[in-house]
Symmetry: C2
Subunit: 353 residues, 2 copies
């Protein structure tokens, strides 16, 4: 600390992202990236931006990308907000829509960035325990609150809350914003975007990082009632006018123009996930039912931290959270079939010792 | 407004960026972009990133770019902070280093985003008037304050505060952060970066948007004592882990590898600026001495707003600020020689009517 720091800085506990190793020989199953390349159409669109025009500012409103996403999801352009990855979208949502006198509610096991945002924006919060099967129980949120946020599917559990339950939550809290963080929804869940015209308190956040293979490009978005979007725009335009560069805007828009590629890769990942889940269960793991591009698994006889360390020696990185209730779990991203085979082979060796 | 908005949102007065017209036939002298393309080496480096690896997250710390900038400016890597344009760097600096009990000081005529940041981060501020010649007077800042920020050269006046005066300000305020916003320093000023090892209270912010022709890429950085940088990192890592995408990181680093191109373009712009200033004076304008890639000029007999509107009819856009003391000025970005000739020709016609 230093005498020049603001009071806020001293109080912060920053988020720690998953490791991004410089070694490319590792089997990287630790940060839920997509094992497949982005669509060739995305790369073509980005290519077209590598030009003299980079000297000019991008469109601060990202109108073309907004219109593309609006059309894709069947909403109005005024219902779309863009950000530098869904993390930036979430950050602005904490400032604009989740900061109230009553506490924000979110699951006790959830995206570990939420309490960090609360620290940054001075948001009081209460964590609502998942049930014994690590599921969100809508009834448990029947309490005094300023707003609600949760990932669906949840992270790191990978469990999906069915859309009917999401709708029930919206109905139980008509005066509170309910933010559904759908980073992983394309891997088997049903999006709440179809509900935004019925629930003015619903904000859905998605990202192009996972299902569209563009973690390296930093594009996320929110969809909701135009009033909620306006709040986000006001904060964004008080923070940074141009969070998305020209290349990112073009690549992101092109991604929505290759539906066949998108669907195919999602289906492949789902198939690999189901096969890996089955193989892991055969190895004695308990694997939570996953609707995401990762699985959450524990072994009754093997310590998770030790397993993660042992896998690392086999050049395989998975993620382990030192956290109550889940410290015996590993979060494993779905790789290619070949990568998952390497994982299963390594586990075979480790578990038979 | 909406019942779902936080109290903060209702109080915000967002920044309004200069117009980014969709028409490409306009002579665009309104947002201080560089009229010349970025270095071909930048485009090559970006090209190499248009690959399968976009599926992976970028380096959250931007180590390679940090090391490149550190080497270029002769500082340690721990003294460099990266952001999504210098606007994001400034935003984090407001939260981390400029938010104190005593008011922040900045010039009354200055970058109009500063009071917007103050609104977002709840920073109390006091504006210190420029003198009659629109210069910053260091002595005027001898007052109770929490921190100081100013652009150098100042915007939109284009006037430079000599480095000796910057150093005097640092010495007068050893207990306060002095943030020097050097967006335009490469067009004729001497950077304060050389002072960071002597003054732990100095933070210098620069951007690649102007002198490196990369407004479309969104990269800015700060250089200062490692303690100041750590404060920025703490806020950044509580907000968004990966603000710079892979393509931007690569392009930005390559920009520092083509010094000859960079110097040549800066010199051309300086030469054009001096010629344009002279021609404008011949037309009867008062042109403030500029050390930036724009000029700030007024005509004793012609209303600035009317002139801007008339130029627009000639397909030339310049920027006019409806603001006390400067409402009779136009801010005109330095274009190519051909663009500046079009401007001078149009002004000839308009002024002779």
């Amino acid at each position: 600390m230093s005498r020049f720091w603001s009071t806020l800085v001293n109080k912060l506990t920053p988020y720690v992202p998953g490791e991004q190793p410089k070694l490319t020989s590792l089997v990287k199953l630790n940060t839920n990236e997509n094992p497949y390349a982005p669509s060739p159409k995305v790369l073509q669109a980005m290519q077209a931006e590598l030009a003299d025009t980079l000297r000019l500012y991008p469109d601060p409103n990202g109108d073309h990308l907004k219109a593309t996403i609006a059309k894709y999801h069947g909403v109005d352009k005024s219902q779309v907000f863009l950000g530098n990855g869904s993390d930036e979208v979430l950050a602005h949502a904490f400032a604009a829509l989740l900061q109230h006198d009553a506490p924000l509610l979110f699951p006790d096991i959830s995206y570990s960035f939420y309490p960090v945002y609360c620290g940054l924006f001075g948001v009081d919060y209460r964590q609502v325990p998942l049930d014994a099967e690590f599921a969100i129980c809508v009834e448990d949120y029947d309490q005094h609150c300023g707003a609600i946020i949760f990932p669906n599917p949840n992270a790191p559990t990978a469990k999906l809350l069915p859309l009917a339950a999401v709708e029930s939550l919206l109905q139980r809290h008509p005066e509170q914003v309910v933010l559904v963080d759908e980073a992983y929804i394309d891997f088997g869940g049903e999006s709440a975007i179809g509900l935004v015209d019925h629930y003015p308190n619903l904000l859905v956040v998605q990202t192009l990082s996972k299902s569209r293979s563009l973690a390296g490009l930093r594009v996320g978005f929110a969809i909701g009632h135009a009033d909620l979007i306006e709040a986000l725009e006001r904060v964004k335009n008080s923070f940074n006018s141009y969070p998305l560069d020209k290349v990112a805007l073009a690549g992101a828009a092109a991604s929505f123009g290759d539906e066949a590629y998108f669907q195919e890769k999602c289906q492949v990942i789902i198939a690999t996930r189901e096969q890996l889940s089955s193989q892991m269960r055969d190895l004695g793991f308990e694997v939570l039912p996953s609707a995401a591009n990762f699985i959450f698994a524990r072994h009754p006889q093997h310590d998770a931290a030790q397993l993660a360390a042992a896998l690392r020696k086999h050049s395989i990185i998975v993620r382990h959270f030192k956290q109550d209730r889940i410290e015996q779990f590993l979060r494993i991203s779905i790789g290619t079939d070949a990568e998952c085979k390497l994982l299963v082979d390594a586990l075979h060796k480790l578990l038979s010792v």
